[in-house]
């Protein structure tokens, strides 16, 4: 019997049972924009950037399982508009001053803005009041830039075996926290944790190493994230 397949934007692509739409697409060379998804971590479907339409239903492709004969739309004007809006929301609901951010040029949120061709958001900036926790000698959390993707939570729990991070609060008050105490220095978090590298934005950072790559040579200066055409 032949491999099971689905239809992605009119193209038949194979999948391995158990794969998500996003994984199947990636194996077939189609990069679906994503943010909270990171290979090696359990998908959590929190950011919705990976939105696609599967058999007419709007779903997050990083969590939705591929199934036989499923018809998936990804690259359509309305889904692109939705994806843009989601990324714009992430910008306006935090405080993102890219010009002075250590992560600039390496940041996946910023890179998605570039790839999607966002020049300014359609929504009002919220300018929320958020804290910076710089209590730890070697690392810091800048809540102004946190997008609540839970990559640090999942990495610390599943790869570092530590549970150094957790969420507290709900809705607009939800924020990432050092799990064992109120301050980062009171936790088991360490400068060598893989959780630090997992943060897609400039929220979880190592101290004293910022701005080491010159402008022009940073990962997303010349090449879009996902390595494909801009505007998707």
């Amino acid at each position: 019997m032949s491999e099971p397949s689905l239809i992605l934007d009119g193209r038949e692509i194979p999948f391995v049972p158990g794969q998500t739409i996003l994984q199947a697409a990636e194996d077939a060379g189609a990069w679906i924009p994503r943010l909270c998804h990171k290979p090696g971590l359990e998908p959590c479907g929190s950011c919705r950037v990976c939105v696609v339409r599967a058999n007419g239903r709007t779903v997050s492709s990083c969590t939705f399982p591929a199934s036989l004969g499923m018809v998936v739309e990804c690259d359509t004007p309305d889904l692109l508009a939705m994806r843009r809006l989601i990324v714009e929301m992430l910008f306006v609901e935090g405080n993102h001053f890219c010009m002075s951010c250590e992560k600039s040029g390496h940041c996946e949120l910023q890179a998605l803005g570039y790839r999607l061709g966002i020049t300014a958001p359609q929504l009002e900036y919220q300018f929320p009041r958020r804290e910076v926790d710089a209590s730890h000698p070697d690392i810091l959390i800048d809540h102004n830039r946190c997008i609540l993707c839970a990559r640090c939570v999942r990495t610390s729990r599943d790869l570092d075996g530590k549970e150094a991070f957790a969420f507290v609060g709900r809705g607009p008050h939800k924020r990432i926290a050092a799990s064992a105490g109120s301050r980062l220095r009171d936790t088991s978090a360490d400068v060598s944790d893989r959780a630090i590298d997992a943060c897609p934005v400039g929220a979880l950072l190592r101290k004293r190493v910022g701005f080491s790559v010159p402008v022009g040579r940073r990962p997303y200066d010349a090449v879009p994230i996902g390595g494909q055409e801009v505007g998707r």
Partner: protein, 181 residues
């Protein structure tokens, strides 16, 4: 045919975006040939002499005067472009949006470590434009047609954009020229 007119202004910005425009180097001669500058700090014309094709806005709105100038630009320009992060997001001046205005003024005029102000009075002369509650990006005050983010946008970005706008082509920046820093 008369040359298209370009007006520029710096609202709550640092003039870095205007510097970036000068950074187009010798292309400035070409620019001077194809456009006529109207109200702009480049020629120091204080007000519009007539309607303009393109208005370039540097800086967001931090005070009542910024709002007044921005509205005047909207009135007088066919196409209005936000240039730089301050115009598109509020930029560095918008850092004050994270602190209540009263605290900001107190720090600047009363409590700051290098402040000498025995009267403890915060400047309130009617000649001084009134500060807004926060710094607003230009598009939250008037309709803006195009945005060129960057701190500042590079000379190449400005050059590409101006060329497209002045020749009536749609403005689509190549990947490497759309940057937020």
């Amino acid at each position: 045919m008369s040359k298209p007119r370009v007006a520029t202004t710096s609202l709550c910005g640092c003039f870095g975006c205007h510097m970036s425009l000068l950074d187009i180097d010798e292309r400035i001669l070409q620019l001077a040939e194809i456009v006529e500058f109207d109200k702009s700090p480049i020629n120091d014309h204080k007000d519009f002499t007539q309607r303009c094709t393109v208005g370039l806005i540097e800086g967001g709105c931090a005070n009542a005067e910024n709002v007044h100038v921005l509205r005047r630009f909207r009135e007088m320009c066919d196409v209005l472009v936000s240039v730089g992060d301050c115009a598109t997001t509020g930029g560095i001046p918008a850092l004050r949006n994270l602190v209540p205005l009263e605290e900001c003024l107190e720090e600047a005029y009363v409590k700051g470590p290098s402040v000498h102000n025995p009267s403890r009075r915060i400047p309130d002369d009617p000649e001084i434009p009134l500060l807004l509650d926060k710094v607003y990006p230009a598009h939250e005050v008037v309709k803006i047609d195009y945005h060129l983010p960057g701190c500042p946008p590079s000379a190449d970005t400005l050059w590409e954009a101006l060329n497209a706008l002045l020749s009536g082509k749609p403005l689509a920046l190549p990947y490497a020229l759309l940057k937020y820093d």
